[in-house]
Structures are given as C-alpha cells and as structure tokens.
C-alpha cells in the first residue's frame, strides 16, 4: 500500500484513531491534576496523588470487588442458563423453532437500555408485578430492587443474548454426527455430553464467558437504576465522583485504574482461553 490512494482510503480510520487517542490522553492528563474543592475547575502541578489516594481508599476497593463479584455472578448464571439454550438453538431440528428463539433473543436488542431498566423496575419494584402477585397470594413481599438481585437480573437480560448468540455460533460448528458416533460406540447421553460435546464446546464457552464478563464489567445503567445508589460498581463510582463531588481528576484516575484492571483481567482470561482452544483442536 505505497500508493497515495491507500493512504486516502485509510484517512477516516486514522482520523478516528487520532480522536480516540486525544480523548484518552486528556483523561490521563486530567487524572494527574487536582480539583478545587466544590468547583469543576482543576489545576496542576501534575502528580500521582489521585492514584495513591485511591489505592488507600476502602470505597474504591469495594467498588472494584463489587464489580468483579457481580460480573462473575452474571457470567456464571449466563453459563448455566445460556448453555442449554444455545445448545437447543444449535440442535433445533426445525428452522421455525430456531427462528422463534433467535427472534426472542434479538428482540431485547431492539429496546434501549433505559426502557429495559424501567421495565425491570416495573416488574421487580416494591409494588411491582412480582410483589403484587405475592401479596395477592398472601405471601410477604421481597425486596427485588435497590439491591444486587435487581442489578444482576437486569444485567442478565442485557448480557444473556450476547452469550447465547456467541455460543450458538460456536456450537453450530460441531457436527452432530460426532454425537451420533459416540452413542453408536456405546456412550450414553450423559457420557456423550461429557466426553464429546463438552470438550468440543469449551473454546466457544470460553469465548462467550469472556465476552459476557467484559460486558458486565463496564455496565453502568443497570447498577445505577436498579441498584438505587446502594450497589456501587466502578462505573457508578466514577459517575458519582463527577456528579456529586465534581472531582473530575479523581474520577479520571479511577477510570484509569479500572482500565488497567480490565486489561490485566482480560489478559489472564485471554491466556486461559488460548489454552482451552489449543487443547481442543
């Protein structure tokens, strides 16, 4: 690509990269400054004070551990619920069944995040569908919002379709004659799953979990809306720093820490995925 046309074609892409790099650089530089108390103004000199303060802050660490825990729970539930669904989808003999399930999954993409969050508030709220039903049955009501239950439920709604679709396309590449061959050679359904289906699905499972976890880490809307301020994750902690204390530099530092944390985690998960994939092929 030595010809000028190549450069010309790449120009929009280069522009986008420059823009993103500029935004990123501004976050990094702001994270090194100090905020004036009570005002949205910040000044030098540049230092790592924001970072050292964050590392010593119990609040910051709690939001880190909350983020990891919630993402872990969401991924785990995705795996348990999503695997059978993806398998059903991949093995559905009728195209109609498959289209139906796919449509239901895709339908959640069509509604925006805020709409979905409100929908869950209506369903899970203290006077919501579930609690009203419980009351009608004479049962005590349960708190389903403003806590982790609500956050995890809504996040699942957001992440599960991605999980299922990713795993589905991976499972579809496993020929079903392999399962027939295993049965034919004397393996029961359970042992066929254990010795053939599961090992062959592992790369797909790893990829789906990876995606699921990464999506959960960055979730902001659902923790904010269904957590009612009581479930602090990294994204909401960053938001609060900006909205309530106007401490933009500290928020920027937290964002950088968050980024670093995610990069480390993804590197570890990516390496694990590589191992699984290599073993399976």
């Amino acid at each position: 690509m030595r010809r000028p046309t190549g450069l010309l074609l790449a120009f929009p892409a280069i522009l986008v990269v420059i823009l993103l790099a500029a935004v990123f650089a501004s976050v990094v530089s702001v994270s090194l400054l100090q905020a004036d108390p009570g005002g949205a103004v910040f000044h030098g000199p540049a230092s790592l004070r924001n970072y050292t303060r964050l590392l010593g802050s119990a609040d910051a660490w709690r939001s880190v551990s909350n983020t990891l825990r919630l993402s872990g729970i969401v991924t785990l539930i995705c795996l348990v619920c999503g695997f059978p669904l993806a398998r059903l989808l991949a093995r559905a003999s009728s195209a109609r069944t498959r289209r139906m399930i796919l449509f239901c999954l895709m339908a959640t993409f069509f509604s925006g995040g805020v709409t979905r969050a409100y929908a869950w508030l209506i369903i899970l709220g203290n006077r919501g569908l579930i609690n009203q039903s419980l009351q009608a049955l004479g049962l005590p009501s349960v708190a389903l919002i403003n806590n982790e239950t609500g956050v995890v439920t809504a996040m699942l709604n957001f992440v599960l379709p991605f999980f299922v679709l990713t795993l589905f396309s991976a499972l579809r590449t496993i020929p079903d004659t392999l399962e027939s061959a295993a049965r034919n050679l004397g393996a029961s359904r359970a042992r066929t799953f254990l010795h053939v289906t599961l090992p062959l699905s592992l790369p797909g499972v790893a990829a789906s979990c990876f995606l699921c976890f990464a999506l959960s880490l960055g979730a902001f809307l659902f923790p904010e809306m269904l957590g009612g301020g009581r479930v602090q994750v990294l994204a909401t902690a960053i938001y609060d720093r900006i909205q309530t204390t106007y401490d933009v530099p500290s928020a920027a530092a937290l964002a950088m820490l968050f980024l670093l944390l995610i990069l480390c985690l993804l590197a570890v998960l990516g390496a694990a995925r590589q191992v699984v994939t290599r073993r399976a092929t």
Partner: protein, 354 residues
C-alpha cells in the same frame, strides 16, 4: 471378533411430515452377509440405516438382530458399529483415543483396551499413526481410523454409510478391495448404504435397490447388474442399452423387426416391450457377404481403455452401445457394417417402453 448376527427387518415405515421416507421395507441379511441399500438420495436408504442404528425411531415395523428386537434398545446398547459418511472422528482425540473410545465406554480394562486398539490399528494398517490427531491425517487414513474404531468394539452388525464416497477414485478402489477382504475375513454381518452402483456390486453379497421408500428390486449383485427388474433399476444401475422391442406372433421378442433367438416375451403382457442389456454383453461381428440377424452400422467409436465403446445404428433410428474387450489393437472404423449378437441369457425383457 465378536459374534455376528443375522438381521431381519419387517414392514419398516417412517414418515416425516408429508414425506413417506420409508414405506414397508422388509429385508433379511444372513449372518456374515453384506447387504447394500442402493438408491439415489431421498430414496429412504439412509433412514433405514439410521433406524437400525437407533438414531431414527420408525413409525411401524420391527428390526431384529439375532432374533431380538432392537427397537426398545437405545443406540448405545444395540451393538451396531457405524462407519459414518464423513467418518465423524472426534477431533479432540488422537487416533488411539478415537479407536479406544468404544472400549472406554464399555469400561474394558486399560491393558486389554490398549492391546485391542493396537490390534485394530494393525488390521487396517495404520499402527504408526496412533498418536496423531484426525486433522493431521489424509482422507484414506481417516477412513481407516473410522473403520478401526468401528471394528474394535466387535460389533454384532456393521453399518456403512456411503463408506467410500469421500475418497478419490484410486484410493476408493484400493479401499473397496481391502474392505471386502476384511468383511470376508471377519465374517461380519454388514448393511451398507450407497448411491454408487459399482460400490454396491463390488462390496456386497446382496443388493436392495430402493425407490421412494420402497424396495424396487432385491438380488445378488450379478442379478441386479445383468437383469434389472424395472426401467428404474436399469437406468439407475447404468444399463447402457434400453431397446424398444415388440412381441412377435410366436411370442419371441423382436428388435428393429428382427427376432432375438431364444428371447421370449413374458406371458400376458402388452406388446410394447423394452430389452435391457449391458453394452459389454452385446456381441458384434463383421457383416459377411450374406448377412443375417441384427444388422447395423458403426457410427461412433470411443476408446475406454480396456475396451472399445461402439455405437451401432440399427434400422429405425435405434442406437446400440457395444463394449468390446480389446483383442489386439484393431479398432473398427465408423461406417463398418456389423451384425449384433444379443445373447438371450444376458437380456432382460421389461414391459412398456422406456
């Protein structure tokens, strides 16, 4: 190897929605015998095979192996071993792991399993490949692994699904011979499915030609090859000559107005007949000074290698294909007048016109 069993199929039927895939199929395969189900795709042959293996539940009928009905038994308990069309080797296991899979499932002790795997690999001559992965093998080697994997469990019945379809021509012929020798040596009752008439003929003791879920004709390979029972079978098995014929007043069959010596029309059938005869069964000699018999002119010659294919035009725009085994190098030129000889015992008289 294990005790092989006779197989009986009775009134087997299976419907998929509006499509009657198998319609009252009855078959029996003696112990150690190989049956080929031959037919085009969609004729129901694969459904029959899948029913035997237990992957398809028939709507009606019974399948008995060694006198015992297979239908209540799940696939893993039937003792059938299937050679899948595309081998279906487990990609995450080595060759040894693949071949040993059935033994592992049967919880055969490790030492014995290892010995039997080695033995099976030796049988198909790939003992050196035990630690390879399927992805590292050629088509022919995969075929052998699949065969070893099926044979090692000492099945009561071997099922072959288009066993050699994925191989190229040379390899296919080599494997055909090898497979046939193995079958003979092991005395395994075998059912195979194929759309290739040549494969059916060289690999089986009995052929059932299927059409629209039914058996159109069953017989020995030579019977099917020489005497197709219908136009369908004749066309499907590649009979080169389907010649319109008529019935003479003495019930002798006539082609192009010439009676064929010794060839009688079947009783009580219509006057419109067809004579089916293989190109290689037709005799041909030069027309002498006073020729008599089925007279024609060579209009086309083609070298097949071991034989020469002639197309001979008869009166009435009839074209007869004649394959003459080569003796010497002389090839008759187009335009040569010849007399054709249709031996009655190699002709099949079908009713109706093709």
């Amino acid at each position: 190897m294990g005790a092989s069993c006779p197989l009986e199929i009775e009134g087997l039927s299976k419907r998929y929605g509006q499509h009657q895939a198998v319609d009252g199929v009855a078959l029996s395969v003696a112990e150690g015998e190989t049956l080929a189900l031959l037919g085009p795709s969609g004729c129901g042959k694969t459904t029959v095979l899948q029913s035997i293996a237990g992957f398809v539940t028939p709507d009606a009928g019974d399948i008995r192996l060694g006198g015992e009905s297979l239908l209540p038994i799940p696939p893993e308990g039937r003792g059938t071993a299937m050679l899948f069309q595309h081998y279906a080797l487990f990609p995450h296991m080595s060759v040894g792991g693949n071949v040993g899979f059935g033994l592992r499932m049967a919880r055969v002790p490790k030492a014995e399993a290892r010995r039997r795997v080695e033995e099976a690999l030796r049988l198909v001559r790939i003992e050196a490949l035990a630690s390879r992965r399927p992805a590292q093998l050629s088509g022919g080697q995969r075929q052998r692994v699949a065969l070893a994997r099926a044979l090692v469990i000492e099945p009561r019945l071997l099922l072959l699904d288009e066993p050699l379809g994925a191989l190229d021509q040379n390899l296919r012929e080599e494997m055909q011979t090898e497979l046939r020798k193995l079958q003979r040596r092991l005395g395994l009752t075998t059912v195979m499915v194929t759309h290739d008439q040549h494969e059916a003929i060289v690999l089986s003791d009995k052929i059932a030609v299927m059409r629209n879920g039914r058996i159109e004709q069953a017989g020995t390979p030579l019977e099917i090859h020489d005497h197709p029972g219908s136009h369908y079978v004749a066309t499907f098995t590649g009979v080169e000559n389907l010649l319109p014929a008529t019935r003479s007043s003495t019930d002798i069959v006539e082609i192009a107005g010439t009676p064929i010596a010794g060839l009688h029309a079947p009783q009580g059938t219509t006057d419109a007949l067809t004579v089916a005869i293989r190109a290689s069964a037709v005799g041909m000699r030069a027309a002498g000074a006073k020729p008599s018999g089925l007279l024609g002119t060579i209009v086309f010659t083609q070298v097949l290698g071991a034989a020469i294919r002639y197309e001979v035009a008869l009166p009435g725009a009839l074209l007869v294909r004649v394959d003459e085994a080569r003796r010497g190098t002389a090839i008759w030129e187009p335009g040569t007048a010849v007399v054709l000889d249709l031996p009655a015992d190699r002709c099949t008289v079908l009713t109706g016109n093709a």
